[in-house]
Amino acid sequence: MPQRKFSLLLALATTLAACSALAKDKASPAAGPAAVKQALLASFEAKGQAGLDRLDQDETQALCSRDPDHPLSSDEVQKIVSANTAAIRYPADGRYLGDWREGEKIAQTGTGKQFSDDPAKPAGGNCYACHQLAKGEIAYGTLGPSLYRYGKLRGQGEAMLKYTWGKIYDAEASMPCSIMPRFGHKGILTEQQIRDVMALLFDPQSPVNQ
């Protein structure tokens, strides 16, 4: 009998929850990580350069997949910072800056790594999708902060160059669960491409600093 009473209560709770606008109810059937992964594997098929292994998560991705109702603990945040800080590779020859003209092209290019893209072509950075950069480009997004006059405002000190390199290489190191892709760590951009994007940000001749 007590069990049946519990079921009735659960049913009632379920009905009540259905009335909440966004159904943020705890009574919805749970979909644990294993069930979610199973559903994903059953729902996707490999295509072009995108194999089913793209559905596998590293620890950072798994932790950062929590919905807002389940925030991370400070230990979990620390785990993300440590793993991603360790992942950053600084340029061996100490050269941080390449060609801003190439950097501008990379910032404008949105293709790369999609199953519809040619894997032989270098991927773009698509910086303008989220950031304002050169003043002349009006079609910029606002998911990230404006980077207009980035270098002009900050100078080219070693610490600033190193910090910015780290941001592009693996943003999770300095901002856990940042929505910015980890361009170096995940092999989206090459070291030289990152240099070119760095030049776009720092070179006094770059349209970003005009």
């Binding site: 290019t109 949105g110 293709t111 790369g112 519809s116 303008y128 009006i138 079609a139």
Partner: protein, 153 residues
């Protein structure tokens, strides 16, 4: 690169040249054949000449309405209304398309000198409304910025 910029890839050669070889009829009235020479023109001047004029004059009596920014160059809405007397035809030109002329409308008596349609723009460019009256050729222009979009280029 998005679709709008892909539209006009490999602009040289191709259709324009082939059509030129096909010869060109004179006018643009409906009962005449398609005016290949006008559609092969690269500039406002080319097109005006192919339509039988010498040069076009700017006019404030042509209302050309188009967006300041086209979210997608594949479809740019254009509305043109001429207040010039005896408007015979209204044409739409895009300066930086591989061939400037998009469309040429003959306006018979009884039809308003008004047209609304949608054209492709390869890139940010001037758009021209070219009007032929019995007093010659006139135009209005407006720059339309064509933007990139999306998360995958």
């Amino acid at each position: 690169m998005n679709v709008s910029r892909r539209i006009f890839l490999k602009a040289s050669g191709g259709v324009g040249a082939a059509l030129l070889l096909a010869g060109w009829p004179r006018g643009v009235l409906a009962d005449e054949a398609w005016n290949a020479k006008a559609f092969a023109g690269k500039s406002l001047d080319d097109v005006v000449k192919a339509l039988g004029g010498a040069a076009a004059q700017p006019s404030a009596d042509i209302a050309l309405t188009a967006p300041d920014i086209a979210e997608n160059g594949a479809v740019v809405p254009v509305e043109i209304e001429s207040k010039l007397p005896n408007t015979r035809s209204i044409s739409i030109l895009v300066e930086k398309n591989p061939n400037a002329l998009s469309a040429d409308f003959s306006i018979p008596a009884g039809t308003d000198p008004y047209i609304s349609t949608r054209v492709k723009m390869a890139e940010t460019s001037n758009l021209y409304a070219l009007v032929q009256t019995d007093g010659g050729f006139f135009y209005a222009k407006k720059e339309v910025k064509v933007t990139l979009g999306g998360c995958g280029g």
